[in-house]
Amino acid sequence: MEILFVLFGASFLLAIIFLVFFLSSIKNGQFDDMHTPSVRILFENKQTSETNIENGKSGKRNL
């Protein structure tokens, strides 16, 4: 049953790691804005939209 000492230590360590992640993500403002990132992810990245400019003017779209 002595293995419980190790298991206990491991589970506790894991929980502490999660706690630290949680606290640091609050500190970094991850939960400050719960809406905008969900919209932002739908925008195409800059690279593709820049190629669209060049092609977009002539009315063609090159994908």
Binding site: M1, L4, F5, F8, S11, F12, A15, I16, F18, L19, F22, L23, I26, F31, D32, D33, M34, H35, T36, V39, R40, L42, F43, E44, S49, E50, N52, I53, G56
Partner: protein
Amino acid sequence: MPPVINTIARTCYHCGEKCEQDSVMSGEHQFCCTGCMTVYEILENNGLCEYYDFEKNPGINPAKSFDHKRWEFLDDKKIQKQLTDYFSETLVIVSFNIPGMHCSSCIYLLENLSRLAKGVLASEVNFLKKEITIKFDPGEISLRKVVETLLSIGYAPEISLNNSEKNAASGKNKKIVYQIGIAGFCFGNIMILSLPEYFDFKSLLTSDFIHLFRYVNLLLIIPVLVFSASDYFRNSWFALKNLRSNMDVAVTIGIAGLAVQSFYDVLSGRGGGFFDSLSGLIFFLLVGRFFQQKTFQALSFDRDYKSYFPLAITRVKGSDEKSINVNDLMIGDDILVHNRELIPADSILEKGEAFIDYSFVTGESRAVLCSEGDLIYAGGRNQGTRLKLKIFKTVSQSYLTRLWNDKAFNKEEQTGMSIWANSLSNYFMVGVIIIAAATGIYWKINNPALLMRSVTAVLIVACPCVLALSIPFTFGQIMRIMGKKGLYLKNARCIEKLAAIHSIVFDKTGTLTTTENNDHEFSSNLLPEEKEWVAAAASQSLHPISRLLKDENTNPEYYPITNWEETIGAGIKATINGNEIKIGKKDFVSREPVNEEGEDHLIGKTYISVNGIIKTGFAPIQKLRDDIEILAQSLKSKFRLYILSGDNDAQKSILEKYFTKDNLYFRQSPQQKLEFIETLQESGQNVMMIGDGLNDAGALKASNFGITVTNDIHSFTPAADAILDINYLGLLPKFASLAKDTRKIVLGALLFSIMYNCIGLSFAVRGNLQPWVAAILMPVSSITVVLYTRLASIAAAKRNKLL
């Protein structure tokens, strides 16, 4: 008359507005005005046309958002330092509120600002706060240029110097999340480590394990008590110091009872203590508090005149014109106020005549004509040509701004749990102490060994935690329901204030009346082209009615006008494209002599004629909102209704139909409004004030519950307890009755609380409260009561037809 083409229900590609006769084309798209087309072309040239892909017609007409402020002051280094979050030679970080932000296309465009303006390094949007944070290189682009770029695409930023309060609020919000995180972590671990205590694992484990687990629990509870529960201790300490008692005191007694008993059990080796119940209790209480703390991030409830007034104004010294901070204005300074700018301080008109629109300040709907030497009050808006004024009083001593020195603005704002809830918990506590004392006396006589144990058990079990949990959940839920229907409360305590109202005082202008009036009457009989001519003719005049007509059209300058003439007190005439346009009184407009009909004359109807034929007539008075009749009818039976108007009594006869004659007051100054509210309160009434302008600011603050009504909830509103979307004004009786129902819901929760406490007490008074009983009772009672409040709130909202 040219044939009508392209007007059949086409909408502007940019802003979605219906395209009229003067619509313009660019490529294959149609626009309602050149302003919208310009924005489209800017975006097209910069390859940002994806803007139009995310939402249909996402744009904002730049003519509408442009508020005619001047931006020279942004070049001032001192103002720049105050506005920016970070300022260095190579990098500036600045955040603005952009009330016009409304859809995902807006996010796309604003976050790609760097492609529109060279020198902008990055921009990030917080949509819920309607805030944009821009990083730019001051070497390449100036702050003013950044603001002007935003303006050019129709997103006017709101710039004011008192942004600091917002940051403080978000810091407070974060603290409770930390507290919940810590409490949750400890609660989870303590639960696992407590399991062996409840089940028969003890035989499997050696006593070393049991002791280790108990001592780890003891260590884990320390951060919960010291950090997570610290607000409860602090609040109850303050309450006791002031010889008051509140819910937090009751909760603290429970927490302390649990903690003392548990520490004693573990340290003396008698048992595992109640650490799991204790940490769970604190965790659930904090979650409830967090739920209640929900705020409407994008709204600001505490604005004063400073965020309405301009930041800077042009000062003239000799031939030198300089933009300076309004707070630096001295008595005797000469200032220039341009068309549609606000007058920042009481001042004297030095030259010529001026039309000043005081509607936001006094409620008076018509612009006032001032002539040389007249005193012009701060807060008025210049309607017309540039004015030169001499400052008569400093900004803070001006007639309007002095209102903020009134004691009503220094009222202490109470926070935390409501008064009513606190008084409930006080009764609760008295009961608990009596039971504890009785138990103590009983065991002292019968079995002194059980004395301490049973008394602490009573204190633990009788803690009104179920009540403490139900109140924030109920209030939070009700607040959300109201928010969905257009009433945004400043905090949960406001629900209770709303429930206690006896009388309601309305402002008239902007609250009961609407400014979006004569649109139909004016345009219905006119051909689109004639409408343009009328607007063009009107644009030359300073008369308030002309201004109104002019606003109907965005580009009146296209039409060459000849023979323009204004006859004071009669009207204007002009010739456009060979057509004679007349606007004014009936006998002025018509070629034939007319018999002035009684009613028309009284309300000052204005007529428009083209080539001598009367086309249309309209009354420029403000119309009452459509739902006023129903609103007044349904409120009358429950509340005393009053009207306080800064305007004249032109609409008295109409208002008398709906409101008691003696309760109508006209021509009230802001100070008089404030005093009227206080007189009502002295007669023992709880007063609700509903207003919209700066002139109501004093009354809103003095009242027990102030509601600011507004068309656009993100625009400037004076400080109040709640902001109401004007379109939902008719729901007011329902909001009031829902607020009253909230008390019933909490009373129901009290019954739950008493029931659970009776179960717990039956164990406790006998002196055998086992940790596992507490460990089951606590979460079960918490979860059922949260479920109950949620269902009861939804049911109450449905009953009031708010859901």
